[in-house]
């Protein structure tokens, strides 16, 4: 029988994989995708909790997180594009003009 812990396990693994991607990848766009993955992982857990524990709260929260994520993506991509226009790169390692 698939229970709550399975869903939570998948969700938290997705979160971990997303974090892993953020750590590993150098392409800003991919990093950003991984961040989206992490947000989404939270959604899965929310829905799972909501389902197994009852109540609407989790579901409604997911609605908000999706909206927030969408807005964030829009803004983030706009920044990345603007930066690409200036620097012609999206590689993390080349974006370190600000240091020390």
């Amino acid at each position: 029988m698939i229970g709550l812990e399975h869903f939570i396990g998948v969700s938290s693994l997705l979160f971990a994989i997303g974090f892993f991607g953020v750590l590993l990848r150098k392409n800003t766009l991919v990093i950003y995708m991984c961040l989206e993955l992490m947000l989404n992982a939270a959604n899965l857990a929310l829905i799972a909790f909501s389902r197994y524990h009852g109540g609407m709260g989790g579901n409604v929260f997911v609605f908000f997180t999706i909206t927030v994520a969408a807005a964030e993506v829009a803004v983030g991509l706009a920044i990345i594009v603007a930066l690409f226009r200036k620097r012609q790169t999206v590689e993390v390692e080349e974006l370190n003009a600000l240091n020390n």
């Binding site: 992490m38 857990a45 109540g55 709260g57 927030v68 983030g76 920044i79 200036k86």
Partner: protein, 506 residues
């Protein structure tokens, strides 16, 4: 779930209580509208209108009543909870916003960038932060926080003609999104724990602070709750700039436009503490873990911020790192608040002092900043006192207050925190704080030194340096007024706190 239930909840939507936020939203929209309506020549008026509007809101809010505009307790289906502290935070954010608006006006005038959008977003952020401070529910908290954060992303990268601004924006974006995910996951875990009806204290709406606290009180050793708390705290730590989530601060502060830097430094930090103060109540059943954690963080934060700033020459990075140490001091206050009731007031006083001092400092930086203010170093402050005494004085007062030197407001802030810490018997932290203060003197003094002490060096060398155009001379009346408010406020609050007495007197 009957309609009556929802009806009852709908009745708790007391819009009057959030009139300031509403007014800010309307003002924000009005600014956009005005850009369309007003002729191009009059666009310069818009920032001034924004400031004026906010001043009016602030004025009305302050006169309308000391606590929640007459409302207390929960509202909006438990989303908000009005309290005196929240009211003060509202005033704090609004005040910050006014100063940032002024700074934005100064900085944007030098630019050929869209202007109105900046103020629009700023106002929305402020509104969101004001709600955040009164949030009583994690959904509200998350949404308000994200609204503000997304706004910050934009404002940080606002100077898109400069690569550093965009780079800072990107860094902030990624770090911010990461921390948001962590925060969100933490909330989810709390939700997961608290919604479990099988456990004592479980409820259908565990994201409500009250409910969550009850749940945690019933299950203080619940791993999920503990993990959730840790993740939530780390998300907030990012906002405040607490070790080890402070690492992004110098880069972002350096790259961001000065008004945004100010906003980040003041409002973002304030928001973090507003949240933290609320959440420490929520997490009080877990204080066994929470307070040791916060204590370690506070100590590390103070030490890191101060030591890292020691050899920093870039002014904005320096201010950023000093801000980190201030976060540490404030954190001591938060920890002390566990045992000392009025420590919350101390934190607020500290924040207000910090606001005024930062306002003074950033105003000066905004006036000094040329095309590329991200490279503003201490050397650029050289002979400031000679070039423009007024700005020099403002810088000195601001820095002095940040350094916690009497008779400036910053000192009273530190004193209150210290007394609170002593009352709460946080001796170790107090020791660290003393070290921090002493170390900090070095770099704060370095700024003063750069701005004042080398003034006459130039005369000694008999160089025929052509007088540089004095940036400060273009100070307008508004500018002078703004700086004067910050300076006078800082000084007066240093020895005469009676204006704030009603809440500082406990």
């Amino acid at each position: 779930m009957s309609t009556e239930y929802f009806q009852k909840i709908a009745e708790t939507n007391v819009w009057g209580a959030i009139a300031p936020e509403l007014a800010l939203g309307i003002l924000a929209l009005a600014l956009l509208a005005m850009e369309v309506i007003l002729p191009k020549v009059a666009h310069g008026l818009i920032p001034r209108l924004a400031i004026l509007g906010q001043l009016i809101i602030l004025g009305v809010m302050l006169t309308a009543g000391s606590s929640g505009l007459g409302y207390t307790g929960e509202a909006f289906g438990g989303m908000l909870s009005f309290s005196e502290t929240g009211q003060l935070f509202r005033a704090f954010f609004l005040g910050t916003s006014i100063f940032v608006s002024y700074l934005g006006m100064v900085s944007l005038e030098k630019k050929t960038l869209p202007q109105v959008e900046y103020f629009h977003i700023l106002l929305v952020i402020t509104g969101a932060l004001m709600l955040l401070a009164q949030a009583n529910h994690f959904v509200m908290l998350f949404v308000a926080l994200e609204t503000a954060t997304v706004g910050f992303y934009i404002l940080v990268s606002y100077f898109r003609d400069k690569a550093v601004s965009l780079e800072a924006g990107l860094k902030y974006l990624i770090m911010g999104a990461l921390s948001s995910s962590i925060l969100l996951f933490g909330i989810v875990l709390l939700y997961g724990a608290g919604s479990n009806m099988a456990l004592a204290g479980g409820s259908v709406d565990p994201l409500n602070f009250g409910n969550l606290q009850k749940f945690l009180a019933a299950n203080p050793s619940d791993m999920l709750g503990l993990l959730g708390m840790l993740l939530v705290i780390s998300g907030i730590a990012f906002k405040i700039g607490v070790f080890p989530f402070q690492i992004w601060i110098p880069d972002v502060y350096q790259g961001a436009p000065i008004p945004t830097t100010a906003l980040l430094a003041i409002a973002s930090k304030g928001a973090g503490f507003a949240m933290l103060l609320n959440l420490t109540t929520v997490f009080s059943p877990l204080s066994e873990w929470l307070y040791p954690l916060l204590s370690v963080l506070a100590a590390l934060t103070i030490l890191f911020g101060n030591f890292a700033a020691l050899t920093q020459r870039n002014v904005k990075r320096l201010i950023g790192l000093s801000g980190v140490s201030h976060a540490g001091f404030l954190l001591i206050g938060v920890i002390a608040a566990e045992k000392v009731d009025w420590a919350t007031n101390a934190i607020l006083f500290y924040l207000f002092a910090y606001l005024l001092a930062s306002a003074a400092v950033f105003s000066v930086l905004a006036h000094l900043g040329k095309e590329d203010d991200s490279e503003l170093t201490l050397d650029d402050l050289g002979d400031l006192a000679k070039r423009n005494g007024f700005l020099g004085l403002a810088l000195a007062v601001g820095i002095g207050s940040l350094a916690g030197i009497p008779p400036l407001a910053g000192f009273i802030g530190k004193l209150l925190i210290f007394v609170a810490a002593f009352k709460a018997e946080l001796y170790g932290l107090l020791g660290v704080a003393v070290i921090g203060v002493v170390v900090s003197i070095y770099y704060y003094f370095g700024i003063i030194k750069a701005a004042f002490f080398e003034v006459w060096r130039y005369q000694d060398e008999d160089e025929e340096t052509p007088e540089e155009p004095v940036p400060g001379e273009s100070l307008q009346l508004l500018g002078k007024l703004a700086i004067l408010v910050a300076v006078v406020g800082t000084i007066v609050l240093g020895f005469y706190q009676s204006p704030l007495g009603s809440w500082l007197a406990g």
